[in-house]
Structure formats: structure tokens, C-alpha cells
């Protein structure tokens, strides 16, 4: 029972990310500007400085190592 609820929460979290991207594409171009940024804009903003880029690289490496190597 608990497992099903947790799986549902994970599905909702994944759907939230997908909805962000879809709503970013559906709400533009609008005369008042976009309501939600696209994932590409988010990544661009997140890697705007060298230190942020290094931090993102470390997080990206950790994710890959954790999921695929260990």
C-alpha cells in the first residue's frame, strides 16, 4: 500500500517536470511573454557562470555514477 502511494508520488513528480516543458511550449509566443521557461532556458540559466557550470558538472557526474556504475 505504502509502496503504491510512493510510486504514485514519483509518477506525479515526473509528470510535473513534463508539464513544465509542455506548458512552456504551449504558452508561447504570448503577447505578455512566456509564463514558463523551457528546459533549455533553465539549463542555460543554471550554467550561466563558470562556478555554476562546475557545480552542475559535479552533480551530473554523481547522477551518472550513481545510476549506471554503482
Amino acid at each position: 500500500m505504502t509502496r503504491d502511494v510512493v510510486f504514485g508520488l514519483w509518477a506525479a513528480a515526473a509528470a510535473g517536470l513534463v508539464c513544465c516543458e509542455l506548458s512552456a511550449r504551449w504558452t508561447r509566443p504570448g503577447h505578455r511573454g512566456p509564463v514558463v521557461a523551457t528546459a533549455a532556458e533553465l539549463l542555460s540559466r543554471a550554467s550561466a557562470s563558470t562556478w555554476r557550470l562546475v557545480g552542475l558538472f559535479v552533480v551530473w557526474m554523481w547522477l551518472g555514477w550513481h545510476l549506471f556504475a554503482r
Binding site: 510510486f7 514558463v36 532556458e41 557550470l53 554503482r70
Partner: protein
């Protein structure tokens, strides 16, 4: 015309190599030297790309950045996923089966090689999206 054709050819070749590499990664079981190697090679490739990005930095963006408020839905969604990971991680100390974390779900999913290859491709695409400029 010739330049466009060449660019399309290079792009197709890169996509084919990446697809082959993801297929290779899907065959590497975790906790083995093969898995360590395929992951480390991707680290190296993206490290070169990131270093190139840092050195070549950085033309000012041609398009103005979107307003800060447009990032809020993303921050909320990513924050919720991180919170769920933390809650399931700590709550699952006594019963991991009842509280699956992202990595325990991926362990289940990665029994299917196609899913593992697709996840590896997604991971590479995320790195490519972050570091290419």
C-alpha cells in the same frame, strides 16, 4: 549548401555513435569494470566539452533571458522531486521495499536494457544541453 550537408552528415554520425554507445552502456551491469569504464568515458567526453565551453566563453546571448518568475514552476517541480528522494531515502532505512528511492526504481527499470539505454541517452543529453555553447 555543401556546408549544411556536411553539418547534417557530422550530426548524423555523432548521433549514430552516441546511440551505439548507449546500447553498449545498457549491456554493462553495475558494480563492474565495464560499467565504470563506460560511465568514466562519458565523464571525460563531457569534461572536454565543459572545458571548451569555459575557455570559449562567452558570447552574450542573442535573445534576452526570460523573466525570473518563469523558472518558478521548474524550481517547485525539481524541489518536490528532491524532497521526495530525501523522504523516501530516510523513511526506507527500515523498509526499502515500501519506500522506493529513485535509485531503487531505476534498479527495477534497468532490468530492461532498452530502458537503461534510453536513460543513459537522457543523461548524456542532459550533459550535452548543459555544457554545449
Amino acid at each position: 549548401m555543401a556546408g549544411t550537408r556536411r553539418r547534417v552528415g557530422v550530426g548524423t554520425a555523432v548521433a549514430a555513435v552516441a546511440a551505439g554507445y548507449c546500447a553498449l552502456a545498457s549491456f554493462a551491469p553495475p558494480f563492474t569494470a565495464a560499467a565504470d569504464t563506460v560511465t568514466a568515458v562519458a565523464f571525460f567526453g563531457l569534461a572536454v566539452l565543459a572545458a571548451h565551453t569555459v575557455v570559449a566563453r562567452r558570447q552574450p546571448p542573442a535573445v534576452p533571458a526570460p523573466a525570473r518568475s518563469t523558472f518558478r514552476p521548474w524550481v517547485a517541480s525539481i524541489g518536490a522531486a528532491c524532497a521526495l528522494e530525501l523522504v523516501t531515502y530516510f523513511a526506507g532505512f527500515s523498509d526499502r521495499h515500501a519506500f522506493p528511492t529513485l535509485s531503487s526504481i531505476s534498479d527495477l527499470a534497468f532490468h530492461y536494457q532498452a530502458l537503461k539505454g534510453a536513460a543513459f541517452a537522457l543523461w548524456l543529453a542532459l550533459g550535452w544541453g548543459m555544457f554545449r555553447r
